[in-house]
Symmetry: C2
Subunit: 295 residues, 2 copies
């Protein structure tokens, strides 16, 4: 198997033509990369999936920070102009450490803050969040929402968080449309106390793991038509776009169109290669490599 | 969190009083450790669970070999007289590499060969195997069974292998008695073509992952009363015992009873600490540490 220690890309002459770095513990973050590609067709992305260490959602906060900072430094060494943490578990536990690792000049965008800002801006009151053990255990969504509500002088916020560790493995197995997907989701949301017969008590449900948008239809069937399902990847893509615009970092189409995206994983298996296109929406060439290949 | 680079044990004066090293990608191998403790109460064990890199079942063979050899060397450096690979994925892909890494003086026992020998000795003909992607993808059970049958001049063997990647996450989540466990198992075994209404076509089903014995009752409900469920951990414990006896390596009770087992993991979370007792059958003190802590 071919092993690379860097992406196959040439350095651009302009900082704004540099690629955007994006990473996840595995291939789930490709849902965010896909939304970014839709929103910013001129931008080039270098994606790193840490498939050797996935899933971050079951790991300790210390270990997730250690992995995340190493990847972020790698992406910046590869010439990236910004770093997107496309993983809720890493966003919840490693945002500050990543920003410190890459320095203040490099914008770092995570997947939690943009969703929280969006919910607060629209005044959504009764919010449920589902995610991995690491994300929910951190309490990041509840804490950020409460702080933002207090800062804006808003009232009436109710936040409830519930860990749903089986959903990511089910989606990775391709079971998002399997007949057992709905009962598993129903079991979790019922245990969280959010279901009352066929209706759901929440105003909005945050799909707080980059895998979960793949199972949006199953979640919709369980919660019914009246609950807003928060589309994390699209919101995050908009936040990245705004950050690029604010920092005068938007790519010039004539440069970027001549260069493709790069997709690298720390451990390449047939299963990852096969699954990647489901998350990104089309076939993509994964290469194995990165900062600690065969660590 | 306290971090150790070695087990808290003093070296014995006799080689036979040295501990038996045992490792798994996580805590599933504790089912094997438990069976060993039952079969050999005088033996002391040093257990290493590579929770920072679990699950091995989704990783490439190269990466599983890299992790396994590093752990095996660590266990021998800690003074172990033998190494038990208590993980089907590692047994399937890394047995030879581990033996080479620790040298010919150290017996290495894996969890596949003893089960294959037991099935062949008893002449079981129609065998199904379920396991992780790595184990099933390696084809190790089918290949070993066919070779052993040919060597013994036996006929009539039928082996079928099927990957069931969701079972380990379900068991880790504590869902082995959940109402959705049976339908998931039924879905897999049905897809494998082994179920005909309420009956199962197999003579024996190998639970080819150290997690699976935890779900034995659910598997039994799905396959009915007539299929033998192969009790891997008990068979492996007997093989370890025989190896100790053959090599004149059995511990003297008066030494070992004064020393407890050691249980180390490469990443310690509350969830692992909570789950470990389910797999070992009683509370055990996990410590974080090992050859690449915070790698």
């Amino acid at each position: 198997m071919a092993v690379r220690t860097s992406f196959p890309s040439s350095r651009p002459s302009l900082a704004s033509d540099a690629p955007i770095g994006i990473f996840d513990s595995g291939i789930g973050g490709l849902t965010v990369a896909h939304a970014m590609a839709q929103a910013m067709p001129a931008e080039r992305m270098l994606y790193f999936g840490d498939t050797a260490h996935m899933p971050y959602g079951d790991r300790s906060a210390e270990l997730v920070r250690s992995y995340s900072t190493r990847i972020a430094r790698f992406l910046v060494e590869e010439g990236c102009k910004a770093v997107v943490i496309a993983c809720n578990s890493a966003s919840a536990t490693a945002k500050r450490a990543v920003q410190e690792a890459v320095g203040p000049e490099i914008p770092v965008i995570d997947v939690v803050a943009p969703v929280v800002e969006d919910l607060v801006r629209r005044g959504v009151e009764h919010v449920g969040i589902i995610g991995t053990r690491a994300t929910i255990g951190s309490g990041i969504y509840g804490q950020s929402l409460r702080e933002a509500h207090a800062r804006e002088g808003l009232k009436g916020l109710r936040v409830e968080e519930w860990a749903t560790p089986l959903l990511a493995p089910l989606i990775e197995e391709g079971w998002q449309d399997h007949e057992l997907m709905d009962p598993v989701i129903r079991s979790y949301l019922g245990a969280a106390g959010w279901l009352d017969g066929a209706s759901c008590a929440l105003d909005a449900l945050v799909l707080g793991c980059t895998h979960y948008p793949m199972a949006e239809q199953a979640v919709r069937r369980v919660v019914g038509p009246d609950v807003e399902l928060v589309d994390g990847p699209a919101i995050v893509a908009k936040a990245v776009q705004a950050t690029m615009a604010d920092g005068d970092l938007m790519a010039s189409p004539e440069y970027s169109l001549a260069h493709g995206h790069g997709f690298m994983v720390s451990d390449l298996t047939e299963n990852f290669a096969r699954s990647a296109h489901r998350f990104f929406g089309r076939e993509i060439p994964l290469v194995a490599g990165g900062p600690w290949f065969m660590a």
